[in-house]
Symmetry: C2
Subunit: 179 residues, 2 copies
DNA sequence: ATCTATTATGCAACCAATTGCATAGTGGTT
DNA sequence: AACCACTATGCAATTGGTTGCATAATAGAT
């Protein structure tokens, strides 16, 4: 149940609406833990039910009211307890590698295109990470909170770079196969 | 629904029982697509229902009979059609990175231990990959099927190496934070 | 005038994955 | 004699994730 904790972590920063959270899960923390807005809203309802967040409706004219969620004392305790528990290994699920595994039953030209598309996608991620790093984490004095985010981001950056290298190498190897 | 395809891909190699498949998903193809034995059995039942595999019971004395599954013509067509469809990006979900992201609410000593444990786990994976590479893929003349598996394995190897480097760097960065 | 995007929320149905349990015989260890 | 690991299968319950839909107002584009 780590989506719950990821949401609580976001709320330690500042109170947010479901919409704010959904956007955060489309960027920043979403680099490390993906979730859709439906997941976020459902989980928020559960957290409210357990008393880990408190929700206040804020009147807005013209559009639906914002429901702003604040983490409670109990919620912060859950975060701390979670931080001490061991982590699971992220589970691998990559169709592209399965296709390489199944090369005998795959059209090489098509697969090459898919590898190149994937390379572009990782290139885009890398650029996004680098932009954020330069924008938000280039100061000399960083708070502990920011240092943690910077370490995570740095891992993301080196990871993307290496995946790109590996994909390019894979395309090269594919090219050496005589059909 | 890519578990279905991953199973079919395994069965293109040779007919297998659910048990054989579950073990394959604990190793080889499991490096790229994880699945538990319950998932495999359930998916096999579905594939049988759709006529993509044919299942024959083989008598055994002493232990439960083996049910051996063979891919059908229709199953092979599904694999081919799947291989041409675009791949999804694997979805990221890593608690360890979330904890780095939430560094302000985490005990640094505990987190360092978790990073080191994770490093060991990737080290173990790397060793396993290298052992398999030397054992099965070091010949000079490889079939196309084997070349594909080798490319995937090589990507796995470089990926593990880089993750280990990044984790070690992260531990170092953590050490530089004055508590 | 109409269409689309954006802000803001949420239900319902479905599909996938995890966890725990159950069966059942064989062979080896303590 | 009791226990564990291995081969071989599968059900049931729960949790998690995805997809599609729905509402509702505003601002800007066509």
């Amino acid at each position: 149940m780590a989506l719950a904790e990821a949401i609580l972590v976001c709320l330690t920063d500042r109170p947010m609406s479901g919409y704010d959270l959904a956007k955060t899960f489309d960027a920043s923390i979403g680099f490390f833990w993906r979730a859709s807005h439906q997941q976020v809203y459902r989980e928020l309802a559960r957290l409210r039910g357990k008393g880990l967040v408190e929700s206040k409706e804020i009147e807005q004219s013209g559009r639906p009211n914002r429901i702003v969620h604040t983490i409670t004392e109990a919620g912060e305790q859950i975060v701390h307890a979670w931080s001490q528990k061991p982590c699971r290994m992220p589970s691998v699920k990559d169709e592209l590698l399965v296709k390489l595994y199944a090369l005998d039953h795959v059209d090489i030209a098509v697969l090459r295109e898919q590898l190149e598309l994937r390379t572009d996608q990782h290139q885009a991620k890398l650029s996004a990470y680098l932009r954020i790093k330069e924008k938000f984490y280039d100061a000399k004095t960083l708070s502990r909170a920011k240092k943690g985010k910077l370490i995570a981001l740095t891992m993301g950056i080196s990871n993307e770079r290496e995946i790109i290298k590996a994909l390019e190498q894979a395309v090269k190897s594919l090219g050496e196969i005589d059909e």
